[in-house]
Amino acid sequence: MTKNRILVFVFALSFMLRLFGAWADSGSQIAPKRWSFVTLGLTPVQSGGRIKPLDSFAREVVLFETGSRSFENWDSIDLLLSWISFPQDWGKKSLIQVAREDVRRQLGLDEHRRWYSPQELFKNSALLQYAEQHTGKGRAMPEVSGGSKVSPREQELKAVIERINLFHALVTGHGWPLIPKPSPTAWASLADGDREGEMIRNQFFQVLKSYEAQDESRFERASLLFKSIVLGELPHNREILKNQIWAELIYHKSRPFFWAWVFYLGAGLMWILCQILSRPRAIQKVKKLAFLLTGLALGSHILGIALRCFIAGRPPVTNMYESVMWVSLGVMIFAAILYWLHRQTVILTVASILAMLGLIAGDAAPAILDPSLHPLVPVLRSNYWLTVHVLTITMGYAAFALTLGLANITLFQFLKGKKKEKIAGLNQLTYRAMQFGVILIAAGTILGGIWADYSWGRFWGWDPKEVWALVTLLCYLVILHGRYANWVGSFGFAAWSAMSFLSVVMAWYGVNFILGAGLHSYGFATGGTPWVLGFVLLQVLYVLGVTWVHHRGRQWSRLFPYGS
């Protein structure tokens, strides 16, 4: 695949250079239109191994090319139409992102710029040389055998080449897979010459014409006709597909996760206010508002996950983005259960803030946590045990995240001074959350064993992901046993509970993003390391700081009061 793309790049280079040279500077017509692109957006296209609305296709393309979800406030479809209509203008605009500084340095580009025009990159001799060198490489092996590691720098270089190829494919028509073919065949593109697609092709050119003519009503009519022709050509199960395409459009337009974190933010603030206020009547009022906001947040959160499940037709935890969304929801679920058991608003406070942070992380870094929906690798498909295993494990992560939040609040109480009762109550909650986590992570790890036994024929193979789940379990088991034996007091319990979450960070993020070894290679990715390390550092400093303040003038051994 990569090989072909790189070849295309080498070929395209000569073609494009000639083209750019010949183009005269036509007056700039490239400004975003404030039209509705919904009709066109609902048209199905086939890309990335599945059928999706043109809207999602455009979003994914724009995100990949520019690294941003709304490039200079363009609607994604608008932007794509503009590219194919006015390639000469866009060829000079800085729109292709080169995300890594070391790649920019390697290509001899300005280190401080992030975006470059297609023309600049096409003329870059270092890039051309790299593309030529790597035409022989890149045959993908089946995921069971692992595979050699590619450095993040090299990945980005390849991505840059693919971005140029894709841009070229889009402006020449090859990149528009609009003409339906029966499944497993690839859909034909605008530039292909098959006769069956003639009608669709002509109609799309009508759409383009009306777009170039800036005639909104004609554009709308042409889009509608185009959509219905494509839908008429769809090979099979048209109805389900139509519904899924609608759902996908709604999912993208309504941005449920964005609204969820906004509501969580509001809810979190209200809950904090509840903790600060002292007048019971004021507390009651704020509490009502907080409940309302939490409910709204939960509602849109659940809606988002449900829509994703429906669109993809599978459970929502197959990459880092989805697992972050799911774990955030898990935190809220456990918080609800604990609140029901103990009636302590502090739980909801902590949970709202954690869920908000999780959702913001997912929303803010689409380039690292890829929000697009992809088909699964073979070993992950159609498997009951897999679903159960992953959902259980991630629920365990959620419980531990809540443990972390509660433990941090407890530590904060130690900073403020000693309110023994309050601290003991908080510790009890932490303990409870930890129990949920321990059971779920134990069950999840074992279920992972059952799944591995069922699909690979071995229960346990010391795979890094398995091993780190076990390490996490052991860390928390140490705390539970230590607490049982009264070796750790209430401070030690809170401190160690907070620290143990680092093992979860390693199991969840570290194995896939840092270690990058083992059988779970379908989850491997790069990026975000500074953020995660920053979090780890902050957490460690916080615990150490609180410990120092708390134990000032005392003996350090009080942290480990053996035999007391």
Binding site: M1, Q46, G48, G49, R50, I51, R139, A140, P142, S145, G147, S148, S183, P184, T185, A186, P375, P378, V379, R381, E421, A424, N427, Q428, Y431, Q435, V438, I439, A442, A443, I446, G449, I450, D453, Y454, S455, W456, G457, R458, F459, W460, W462, P464, W468, V471, L474, V478, H481, R483, Y484, A485, N486, W487, G489, S490, F491, F493, L515, A517, G518
Partner: protein, 476 residues
């Protein structure tokens, strides 16, 4: 005695073991990420220290359970969770001892009943008997202690005096010794020459040998080199070819065909073979300098440390075997060699350990399905038929996540190899992982107990907490 028992059932020991286990595991994953899986297995997961930790953990749990004797109702959840761990450990031990975990390679249209296991064995066979000695895996750059191998009926001891975890072999040819000529009467000639000059200005050593198809005709760059009477007829026109072969009078004859089809012939007398220079007449006019002609040759491969020592790309291992003070012989994994010992030919083979199943499996077709419109594989499947004493079963499909069970063995679709660089080129080789796990029942029971036990344990704690107003201990 009592003191030992109390130490063994102490909570301190438990926490100490859990912590050391956690540390060992962290170390294991770091080694795996830095080097590769076998290295991590060797240093951590299969190491004696790790086994020792697990045994102590088992003992500890067992003693704690005993110390609560006589058991009462409230001990039930505790016992369940902890005996669950014991059962799980027992199950793992049974799997380790008695389980089978190997792979089966199946090419389309072929049938096999051989399962290759992970470890390697040295197999010796003389006229009377066949013996097998297992050769343990040792990580790269780790000092190898020579192992002596005593064959029955032979007084000399064989010595495995060198071991290379990942070895690259260089093959040359030597005259076949007198004694071993008995079996094969036909002579297998070998030629050694140097290709010099040409467009790229190269200088390359080349061996050709009549003994095997892969040595008889070699493609090097744009040209083809053949030993024997005729050109290689499978090569398409327009590719330069060089052929060399023996004549009746003991001399050699050669012919060089250029890309335009013109051919040069030549003859060399027996005495002037060494150092003879032949003009090929190809583009850039590379020359061939003859080094050696062996009328009856046998291959000799010498191994050295491979350039790639870690990861999937690293080649297989090789051992060097010596008889007392004589010069020894290198054997790479999957190869054979013959040693002359006390007037007997002893055949040595260094192979992956294998087991033979009581039935055979034949691969009819291997299939890859792709995601619509992409080159991303969506599913692999092998269509097989099984031949056993009870008859033949046809058209069975093994897919990812859909294994096949036959007589206690389970077959999983693990991977595949295409015979060519091109995907979907035929024939394909399907790789199945084969598994038999007698410890499975223990592992599953143990797992269920652990989960249920912990559930009850925490539920009981919750009730206790609700009843008493006392919260956790305040000592700060």
């Amino acid at each position: 005695m009592k003191k030992i028992f109390y130490t063994l059932c102490s909570l301190k020991l438990a926490v100490l073991i859990i912590l050391s286990l956690a540390l060992a595991l962290v170390l294991g994953t770091l080694i795996e990420s830095q080097y590769d899986t076998p290295t991590a297995q060797y240093w951590v997961y299969q190491s004696k220290v790790f086994y020792f930790l697990l045994v102590i953990l088992g003992l500890n749990i067992f003693c704690v359970a005993l110390s609560r004797f006589p058991w009462k109702k409230q001990h039930f959840p505790f016992l369940m969770a902890h005996f669950g761990i014991l059962t799980l450990l027992l199950g793992s031990w049974i799997t380790d001892r008695a389980g089978v975990d190997g792979i089966m390679r199946l090419s389309e249209g072929e049938s096999t009943s051989v399962v290759e296991l992970g470890s390697a064995v040295l197999i010796t066979s003389d006229e009377d008997r066949v013996q097998a000695f297992s050769v343990p895996w040792i990580p790269p750059y780790f000092r190898f202690k020579p192992v002596s191998v005593q064959l029955q009926g032979i007084s000399h001891a064989l010595m495995i005096d060198q071991y290379l975890t990942h070895a690259d072999g260089i093959t040359s040819f030597v005259p076949r010794s007198h004694e071993s000529k008995k079996k094969q009467t036909q002579k297998q000639a070998a030629v050694h020459f140097k290709l010099v000059g040409g467009v790229m200005g190269i200088s390359q050593d080349i061996w050709l040998w009549e003994g095997s198809p892969s040595w008889k005709s070699i493609q090097l760059g744009p040209a083809r080199f053949v030993i024997g009477k005729n050109f290689d007829s499978t090569v398409s026109e327009g590719i330069p070819q060089f052929r060399i072969g023996s004549e009746q009078d003991g001399g050699l004859s050669y012919s060089a065909k250029a890309s335009n089809g013109s051919i040069q012939y030549g003859k060399i007398r027996e005495k002037s073979i060494q150092g003879q220079t032949i003009q090929t007449g190809w583009k850039g006019n590379p020359q061939i300098v003859l080094e050696e002609w062996i009328a009856d040759a046998t291959p000799l491969t010498v191994y050295h440390e491979a350039r790639v020592q870690y990861g999937n790309q690293a080649p297989g291992s090789a051992i060097h075997i010596r008889v007392s003070s004589e010069e020894g012989v290198w054997i790479g994994l999957g190869d054979r060699a013959v040693l002359r010992l006390e007037n007997r030919d002893v055949e040595l083979g260094y192979f992956p350990k294998r087991i033979i199943l009581p039935f055979s499996i034949r691969l009819e077709r291997f299939q890859i399905d792709y995601d619509p419109g992409t080159q991303t594989p969506a599913a692999y499947s092998s269509q097989v038929s099984i031949n056993s004493e009870s008859g033949e079963k046809k058209n069975i499909l093994i897919r990812m996540n859909e294994p096949l069970q036959v007589q206690g063995f389970t077959f999983y679709q693990a991977s595949y190899e295409a015979s060519d660089e091109l995907e979907n080129s035929r024939p394909m080789t399907s790789i199945l992982s084969v598994n038999q796990d007698p410890g499975r029942i223990c592992k599953y029971t143990g797992s269920a107990w652990i989960v249920l036990g912990s559930l009850f344990l925490f539920a009981a704690k919750y009730r206790k907490f609700s009843r008493s107003s006392r919260l956790i201990r305040e000592d700060v």
